[in-house]
Amino acid sequence: MGRTVPALLVGLAVVAAGMVLVLVRVNPYFYFAGYVILQYVVIATAWNILGGYGGYVNFGTPAFFALGAYTAVVLIRSLKAPLPVLIVAGGLVAALLGLGIGYLTLRLRGVFFSIATLALSVVLQTIIMNWEYVGGSRGLSILRPSGPPFGNYGVFLFTVMLGLAVVAVLMARFIERSWIGRGLAALRDNEEAAECMGVPTLRLKLFATTVSGFLLGVAGAPFPYYVTFIEPNSAFALDYAVNALAMPMIGGTTSWIGPVIGAVLLGTAQQVAIVTISSELNLLLVGVVLVGFVVVAPEGILGLVRRLRTR
């Protein structure tokens, strides 16, 4: 616990650095791209709490992300709710969905769980496509509120996402170092043995799916304001499912820093590729890098570093 205070300070320093960055006037595009990378830090970190720590691979990331985004859409349309409310509400609704898939783990393990989460995404997208109030398949334009607290609205959203990323990473780090993280690691290694050694496996799985779902929803909640036009194909994009899994795998799944490394590296590479090559190429990039890592460094960059150190 002695290292929690320094970690909090580092987190605050990151937020402060972001604020300074906001004051220094740089090209607005960097905020636009930076937002996406930070959003992926939240998504990869959230995915890793269930997939990396607990070993339950979730292919349904888009469902949770889009649920957060569409919860925000409903609240914007009906109540004109402020951004903090959207974020909390988006997180809570996605957390409920997470709790639901947690109960799935009672019957489905391994690849069967993954298939079920994939189906979840398809089902939810179909529902949203047929729900006119949130724009259906045609989509809906979202007006940003006028007068953000500082800067322009893009800069403001960037700062908010930076704060969310710091919160998500601190949460993951705290979980990892507590008895919950150790219990999740035990059940990832062998669920039956973990249960027989006194680990309350069901409770831990429900906790992991709920927290993971919450953070994915949180990542999605500011999305309508970010894109200003929301439609199912972009909210349920395959990118989220692939990146959520690829980024922790590339960084390393056993530690909180792994998803951060993966998200920053891969997210930056994708943004560069979108600008310099083509916007469709970035998923191909992920695929190639992921295959490379699975072959060369199956434990990600962290595993690679560890291996080089012990040599």
Binding site: R182, G183, A186, R188, D189, N190, M197, G198, L202
Partner: protein, 238 residues
């Protein structure tokens, strides 16, 4: 039976149409060294899975220290003091040997606040102290079995169920494991031993129950069991 530590009453377990356990009743006394034997497929491991909570039962009642635990989840039974080892070792592969013991110490042991010193002490008594910082993948077969027992000990059991801890080991290694189990029993831990190695189970057990095709066919001291014609028939046929 009055004063039994573990009491199994009319336990029945089905897998589809297959009756794996049929009305099995067993009582184990506190401090006892209890042997459970039977041919392959007789239901020994199924019985253990039902007692430890890994499998739900289809009928009957299990009580531990007078408390009905029939529907209790496995991790809570472990916390009460029923701890098992696995026939095929199931270590936590991503953790060191020492960290493997940390899981039951943290989650099951009576009196929390256990630390690395407790785990190290257990490893010393079982002879794995010099492997404490290795991953289980670096262990030999016998060391893996010892880790399985060490991890079970870290849960501070009142009743230890040893599921074929000696299968596939050499004669000297069997003696090694037996000595550990005897020592645990002297410390007051009740032990149920499931074993195919007759030399070991006969030497170890004070009382033996024989299962065949899901039914209890005999009970007695090792000497009585050896001379029992029904047991001979179950193992060798007519």
């Amino acid at each position: 039976m009055a004063g039994a530590l573990l009491e199994i009453n009319g336990l029945t377990k089905r897998f589809g149409g297959f009756l794996a356990l049929n009305q099995v009743s067993i009582a184990v006394k506190p401090g006892e060294r209890f042997g459970l034997i039977g041919p392959n497929g007789s239901g020994k491991t199924t019985l253990i899975n039902c007692v430890s909570g890994s499998l739900p039962v289809d009928g009957g009642r299990i009580t531990f220290e007078g408390r009905d635990i029939t529907a209790m989840p496995a991790h809570r039974r472990t916390r009460l003091g029923i701890v098992r080892s696995f026939q095929i070792p199931k270590p936590f592969t991503s953790m060191t040997v020492l960290a493997n013991l940390g899981i039951p110490l943290e989650n099951a042991a009576h009196g929390r606040g256990a630390d690395g010193a407790d785990a190290m002490q257990i490893l010393e008594t079982i002879g794995l102290a010099n492997k404490a910082h290795l991953r289980p993948a670096g262990l030999t077969q016998i060391e893996m079995r010892k880790l399985e027992l060490a991890r079970a000990m870290a849960a501070r059991p009142k009743l230890l169920i040893s599921d074929e801890a000696m299968a596939g080991l050499s004669s000297a290694e069997v003696d090694d494991i037996l000595a550990i189990l005897f020592r645990l029993n002297e410390q007051g831990i009740t032990i149920i031993m499931i074993e195919h190695i007759m030399r070991a189970v006969m030497r170890f057990s004070e009382r033996i129950v024989v299962l065949d095709a899901g039914e209890r066919i005999a009970e007695g001291t090792p000497d009585e069991i050896v001379r029992n014609p029904a047991v001979e028939k179950a193992y060798l046929g007519e």
